[in-house]
Subunit: 358 residues, 2 copies
């Protein structure tokens, strides 16, 4: 699907209407209106409406503003041809860039590189040594290589978190590896992401988190309520409940009402790293008197915002962390804020699963 969607994405991105959105980067004065009809109104931390956003309401039938988030999440995909497939048990489980591969070539007892050249084009691939027949042997051998590379500073952001490698989600693990190394092998990664909403006078409001200004990734950007990577040995719902507690202090008796609602996916290349993410989406309706609070210091504040306002923020700015914007856009699709009488509906819907979604 990924390859076939590229012309569709390219066509939209070539649109002159989209250019201003892609060139603009949002401002700190983007508007979030806090509902006055609920009890736990917090100060208007995040600014006031801009004239640009007011003007944009005139073209609210225009879906192109949403595309910039799809574009950002899938940026660099045209460079996929530079990467060599990583093949294990006859399945293409990932992609490795030649620059990263040169480090792996130093370990021929673990990684085998085939350098076939067909019609002048490199058609090589990477696989594991034939003696590495079991998941445990592979995990151990790759683990030694990765530790060595990490000590050389070649794998930043080490997390001590083991990540299973599967052909499709829920399938048998072929081996596991340190999570920080996953993008260098172009291996699919899975996560759980949750929108928390409240019904206020019959209108849905979304809880919006503002990420801490000191957070390493996407500081100060907007986020939905809860998200987390899907590691080895834990179910999706179980993981979500854990993240609900850590990220928003949602007690288990509430969190377990979270509903699975679908998935989004994207593929992004930055330098030698190839991220191939699938995010399982959940919704949770929260009581009006519930106030989320963050335990791990990664969120500066939470605000409850009418969904239509969230839609406008996403459509007209880049204040949202891009992959979380996809999860919110999926919410907008499922709740009628984006509808088929708007031109480009199906292409945008399809684009939310631009990455291999298995």
């Amino acid at each position: 699907m990924a390859t076939l969607l590229m012309p569709c994405i390219s066509r939209f991105l070539a649109s002159p209407h989209l250019r201003p959105a892609l060139n603009g980067h949002g401002t700190t004065s983007d508007f979030i209106r806090v509902s006055k009809s609920i009890n736990h109104v917090v100060p208007r931390l995040w600014a006031r409406i801009t004239s640009a956003q007011a003007a944009s309401r005139a073209v609210e039938n225009d879906l192109q503003g949403y595309w910039k988030h799809v574009y950002i999440c899938n940026s660099g995909r045209e460079r996929q041809v530079e990467f060599l497939p990583f093949i294990v048990e006859d399945s293409k489980i990932g992609y490795i860039h030649p620059k990263f591969l040169k480090h792996l070539r130093r370990f021929p007892e673990v990684f085998i590189v085939r350098d076939d050249v067909v019609n002048g084009m490199s058609k090589g691939w990477v696989t594991l040594h034939e003696l590495l027949q079991t998941p445990q042997l592979r995990t151990d051998a790759i683990g030694v290589v990765l530790l060595s590379l990490e000590m050389e500073g070649l794998i930043p952001g080490w997390r001590n978190e083991h990540y299973p490698v599967v052909i499709s989600f829920g399938g048998r693990s072929l081996f596991s590896l340190e999570r920080a190394a996953v993008p260098f092998f172009g291996i699919k990664a899975y996560g759980v992401h949750m929108n928390g909403y409240v019904q206020v006078d019959g209108e849905k409001h979304l809880w919006v988190a503002k990420r801490s200004a000191t957070k390493q990734t996407f500081p100060g950007m907007l986020d939905h309520l809860v998200a987390g990577g899907q590691s080895e040995g834990i179910g999706c719902k179980e993981n979500l409940l854990k993240e609900c507690d850590e990220e928003a202090a949602i007690p288990a008796f509430l969190a377990e009402k979270a509903t699975a609602v679908g998935a989004v996916s994207y593929e992004q290349i930055k330098g030698e790293a190839f991220k191939r993410d699938v995010l399982f989406c959940y919704d949770l309706e929260l009581p009006a008197d519930f106030q989320p609070s963050n335990k791990d210091g990664e969120v500066e504040s939470f605000e409850l915002v009418p969904v239509a306002e969230v839609a406008e923020i996403i459509r007209t700015s880049q204040r949202y962390k891009p992959n979380c914007a996809l999860v919110v856009i999926d919410f907008l699709f499922r709740n009628g804020y984006i509808h088929p009488d708007q031109p480009g509906y199906l292409q945008l819907l399809q684009s939310l699963r631009s990455g291999e979604c298995q």
Copy 2:
């Protein structure tokens, strides 16, 4: 996407677990339990639970029962290679089978057939005569051809309904043609489909329609509440409101609360006909005291059924009209009745858009 999904569908269909489901055809004794907590309980028209279904609850974590509907909707797709592309304004807008094409060859002032043979394989295509430069000229010329073929009995089920041909939904119409002819040209067709639900004691129930025993297509099968083809000159929501009135006597003030929630798609080949359908999905929450009634004689009766029971009917029988089953499966995904901790979640989710969804 279509082509890439085929291995996935094939893999699931090859599963030994699925075989019994595909071979069974449901029985009239499939179970629909009528909720006792609502006022308008109708007689248990549609039968009692079978031992087979009771047994199936033991494996309710198994998603493979849903696949038979995807399979049926996409049956015959492996024969796409037999069809010649139909190209207008440099875009592939459809597919025509050689057997139907032989009739079109009699009209060289309208249809131009290119019969290139490359490496022994037919690589031909069909296009329109170069003089047919405008939508009106094309519509008129093709209309004359189709009327002629209809009089020869080659296009059954003539509807006197004009169908726009677009490259992507909402785009400029290249021409329009009689709806009955659409599958013979492999042109994408669009429809609006709506699930009607009621909250009873915090549990969602779906309105299930039983199609009339005298209906030409899929007589006696189960259906969701409202559906209709998307013709020329009407918006999706406007069309849905019209169908809500005709098919279930839902007044406009209720129907306009229907919410767009996404789309499903499939591609099916039967003989010379190639159906490429995209169905826009809507949900409508109805008040507990609303009773749908059918105006056009196409529905025998309606029953309100807990969603979990609908899920079981779909998973364990073929009583549902297949494309409507996809729309209900989409509802199950969006409402957590199918969730990521069930093996095969992502593949099934992806399969709901097996056809080109633009």
